[in-house]
């Protein structure tokens, strides 16, 4: 059974300009000890999806429809008698069974609390341990994530750590209670390439050691290529294509996925960069049809009118595009 099962998730935000339909009817699942990448550009809904799974949506946002089942248990607010009961349950899950690694470590860490205290807090929140035991565990964790001389650094403040080291602290906190699911939201965007490589390797090692599942949210296809088993491509609040890593990289079916692959420079291949023209849709007024229609070079009339259904190509590979449908009909007519 899948560890996380998201069905027909729809998330809206109320803003001064109107209702933003950030996530529109998406379904996916993540298996035990699987690494899944969610790829999309800013505004595609990838982060909002995971925030709503974690119950961390801003006050003006909410899950309008759909269900999120984690470890066999429904974890959307509607399944609980009150908001308070829901939040009590979520604080038991968050940081314990499910934890998150954020993009910017400096905004996540409290600048006036010592690093050691911030890590032990996570441990003590979910376990009945003494101060000394918590400290011992925290120091061991710091060592595991590659912080040199963890004993001395235990009492230091966040500003005394570099960006890469802070991200390691965040990872240590995320791993503190051996979570079953780790959600990493662009964990390396703020870091240099050399540090990015170190942090990605660390996440990979830790995942294997703890046998956890990982969801990696990113806009960088390079990051997911080496780390993820399965990849979900999001655009304009919808999942447009999903498949295992090889299917997405070598047999992409959606024009957006193909475009995305063509506009990252692969130095091994030396192809010319072909950008995707235009910019993402405005989710205040999401298009009725395919969200990618305005930027798609092969758009047809139907693309503007109706969202295509997801077509299944293999056990893992699905894609929502009218082109496939059109291709099939053509084949039938000619055959």
């Amino acid at each position: 059974m899948a560890l996380l099962d998201v069905k027909h998730l729809t998330v809206d935000f109320n803003t001064d300009q109107g209702v933003v339909h950030a996530v529109r009817d998406i379904s996916f699942s993540v298996g035990e000890s699987e690494a899944v990448g969610i790829v999309g550009e800013s505004g595609s809904g990838k982060s909002v999806t995971m925030y709503s799974v974690m119950g961390l949506l801003a006050a003006n946002g909410g899950i309008r429809e759909g269900s999120v089942v984690f470890g066999g248990k429904e974890i959307t607010e509607k399944a609980y008698p009150s908001r308070k009961a829901y939040q009590a349950e979520m604080s038991k899950i968050r940081g314990n069974e499910m934890s998150m690694i954020f993009q910017d470590p400096m905004t996540f860490l409290n600048p006036v609390v010592r690093i050691g205290k911030q890590i032990t807090e996570v441990i003590k929140n979910h376990n009945k341990v003494s101060d000394a035991q918590a400290k011992e565990q925290a120091v061991a964790l710091m060592g595991q994530v590659g912080i040199p001389s963890p004993h001395e650094r235990f009492g230091q403040y966040p500003h005394e750590f570099s960006g890469g080291m802070r991200q390691r602290i965040i990872i240590a906190m995320a791993l503190a209670n051996s979570p079953r699911l780790i959600i990493a939201d662009e964990p390396t965007t703020a870091l240099d390439v050399t540090i990015q490589a170190q942090v990605l390797d660390l996440i990979k090692d830790m995942k294997e050691k703890m046998n956890s599942s990982v969801i990696m949210i990113t806009h960088d296809l390079g990051v997911v290529a080496s780390l993820c088993d399965r990849i979900i491509i999001m655009y304009g609040g919808k999942i447009v294509e999903a498949g295992d890593a090889r299917e997405i990289f070598y047999q992409p079916r959606h024009p957006y996925t193909m475009g995305l692959l063509k506009c990252v420079h692969n130095p091994e291949k030396k192809d010319k960069l072909t950008p995707i023209p235009g910019s993402p849709p405005d989710l205040l007024k999401p298009p009725a049809g395919c969200p990618f229609v305005d930027r798609c070079s092969q758009a047809m009339r139907i693309c503007k009118l109706r969202m295509p259904e997801a077509e299944t190509y293999s056990e893992t590979h699905t894609c929502s595009c009218w082109l496939e449908e059109a291709g099939k009909r053509k084949g039938e007519n000619h055959g």
Partner: protein
């Protein structure tokens, strides 16, 4: 290589960060003894990790920061001793595009005013009417609509804003543009648009670029030559192909092996060189080779003297253990 448009000769940019009146003097050597030159119509990519001094160097070139030592020559003349009219020409012809298009455009000015302002300062074109027409023309050139001229920056996305700042730079008919991480704040699908726009502009207008970035694969794509910086020093320089296909400096090799490749089979098969630790602080940097603390092939020699740049047929490297014979 074409005749050098800009020559950087042993340039140093130091910052005094001494705290208090009687404390020991503390100097950050952000750029320490860097030399290179850029030809007409050439793109020179400058790469390195954050804190290596690449942006400081770019800013030193447009005199945002004063030079501590060394000389910068533009068209063969020292930019520190330029006379009034020459200085005006220099400030017009050498322009800069910044990293964050959300911070580099004044939110209270319309796009038209933003593009017209540099023309007014440099007295390009005679009437406001002509400048307005030119601004509309420039907007079209960078792929926006001429009627965007009356809008404000907040009505545009990140990629469109970066186009506006490119239009603003082009208003002065520059010869040399310093692009300081112009795409790192943008989405992947938009990055390629901006890179291709910069390339098109270059082939139409014959502009030289200094392209500062930490993303090696994009730098390789746009640059003719690449310089690799580490802790204020230039450690390797060569054509984009030389640096990319046969890197000589151990740091460049490590940097290249860390670039994520969008291809699962290649990414899994390739051997990664792990760099231990992080960039040391440029405050009182170590003696000898700046990279020795993280270098897998460091020897005793590296701790004593700083290796000089050696030239191997246009491919230069500052390392005792590098070079075709190694």
């Amino acid at each position: 290589m074409a005749e050098a448009l800009l020559t950087v000769d042993h340039v140093k940019t130091y910052f005094d960060v001494t705290k208090g009146l009687f404390s020991k003097k503390q100097i950050v050597k952000a750029v320490d003894d860097v030399s290179f030159s850029i030809g007409e119509g050439e793109t020179y990519g400058l790469v390195g990790e954050s804190g290596c001094g690449k942006s400081t160097l770019g800013r030193t070139l447009v005199q945002i920061y004063p030079v501590t030592g060394g000389k910068i020559y533009y068209k063969g003349r020292d930019i520190d001793t330029l006379k009034k009219t020459d200085r005006k020409e220099f400030t017009r012809e050498v322009q800069m595009i910044f990293q964050d298009p959300y911070a580099s455009l004044n939110p209270r000015m319309t796009v038209g005013e933003i593009i017209k302002e540099p023309m007014e300062i440099h007295k390009i074109l005679d009437t406001s009417q002509q400048r307005e027409e030119r601004a509309a023309e420039l907007l079209k050139l960078v792929g926006l609509k001429p009627d965007h001229i009356r809008r404000y920056p907040h009505e545009f996305s990140g990629g469109q804003r970066q186009r506006i700042s490119i239009a603003r730079t082009l208003a002065l008919n520059p010869r040399f543009i310093i692009c300081d991480e112009p795409i790192s704040a943008l989405d992947v699908s938009i990055q390629a648009q901006i890179i291709n726009l910069l390339k098109e502009i270059q082939s139409d207008l014959k502009i030289s670029y200094l392209f500062v970035a930490h993303d090696l694969s994009m730098v390789n794509y746009i640059s003719d030559r690449i310089g690799v910086m580490y802790l204020g020093h230039l450690v390797e320089e060569g054509t984009a192909d030389q640096v990319y296909s046969s890197p000589l400096h151990p740091y460049t090799r490590a940097l290249l092996s860390a670039v994520p490749i969008p291809d699962p089979d290649v990414a899994k098969a390739r051997r990664k060189i792990h760099l231990e630790g992080e960039l040391p602080t440029p405050l009182n940097p170590p003696a000898g080779c700046p990279f020795k603390g993280r270098c897998p092939s460091a020897t005793e020699e590296c701790g004593k003297v700083r290796p000089e740049m050696k030239d191997y047929g246009g491919h230069k490297v500052a390392c005792f253990h590098a070079g075709p014979s190694h």
